[in-house]
Symmetry: C2
DNA sequence: GTCTATATCAAGATAGAC
DNA sequence: GTCTATCTTGATATAGAC
């Protein structure tokens, strides 16, 4: 019988992948436990409900975005196009996965209208994302315009993730990257 | 075109609303039965599995789009802007709901990577939608351009639905309507 | 066509041994 | 910290009476 200690951090990382692959409601505590190499009972030692795991997962995602992605908008060593490209790629790396979708968008849509503790975290994720994009746009466009361009970029990105998955074709996402970049000189 | 709604038709209409509100996996057969004013056992008289109900729901949505929405792109009595406006509003009426999301996008994301019978119907919905939009754009833009503009409009629409729900603010969706319309003269 | 009753299984969650 | 065992509830689905 293996007695391998697991850390809460590792569980959150694994749970992120499982949730992204199967969605919130379609993922069971057994699924999460199994993916972590634990029995269901052991899993409750770390998290006492599914809601709290997702809360931890999304808080981790937000934290990572704040650490690694959003500051790119202020990186003085890059020009606007370079910032935008690096920002979009980094956000993609954090939020997306080979064949899973966007953890933030999927969870938002699934839990729309439900009373779950992590909705405020999802809002923060998208507001932070919009703010970072609009900072870059605001170097070349007026305030109101740059805000709407940022919102538009986020919407296109999420729509593209959906269509790319549905048709199993990266082109939708690639087009959005090119289109968003091409708005900057 | 059926003049009299059968019971099965009514169930499909009700199921559409429930699925749109609660999602595919988070909706139970009990939920559907209750919403139809039936006992669970009675419900199985009409549909013997949840998958078949969703299949019927999405087929009905596709059929309605083909009958009522997509032909607007060919309506000779309207100019391009009028066609676009009427098309977008009609698609919104069929696919969206007060506070529920887009049945096609939500179901697509939830069942991504799963083997369910209705994925091909979802693909048809989005391909039909893109085609209708690109028909209108192609009156004023070259072929390749109009195709990408149509894809972009769909992506923005779906992203806007997500953000409008998340922040409980219609403005995202309204902006997309205005922006898409403004591309036409 | 609708109901009640029930079988079967999975889910969320807890208790207690080691 | 991990396990097995168990509780409770809810889910899918079927059987059979009216």
């Amino acid at each position: 019988m293996p007695l391998i200690k697991t850390s809460k951090e590792e569980i959150i990382e694994t749970a992120l992948k499982v949730f992204r692959e199967n969605g919130y409601y379609h993922t069971s505590m057994s699924d999460l436990a199994k993916a972590c190499g634990l029995q269901k009972g052991s899993f409750y030692h770390y998290f006492d409900s599914k809601e709290r795991i997702m809360d931890a997962v999304l808080s981790k995602v937000l934290h990572t975005l704040k650490e690694e992605a959003f500051p790119i908008a202020d990186d003085k060593s890059l020009n606007d196009r370079e910032r935008m490209q690096k920002l979009m790629l980094t956000i993609g790396k954090i939020m997306l996965q080979q064949n899973g979708g966007c953890i933030a968008a999927n969870t938002s849509l699934e839990t729309n209208g439900k009373e779950v503790m992590f909705r405020k975290t999802i809002k923060e994720i998208f507001l932070g994302w919009e703010l970072a994009l609009s900072k870059i746009f605001s170097n070349q466009f007026p305030e109101g315009t740059s805000k709407r361009m940022a919102e538009q970029a986020v919407m296109e990105f999420e729509g593209a993730v959906m269509l790319s998955q549905l048709h199993n074709n990266d082109q939708y996402l690639k087009d959005v990257f090119v289109r968003t970049l091409s708005k900057l000189r």
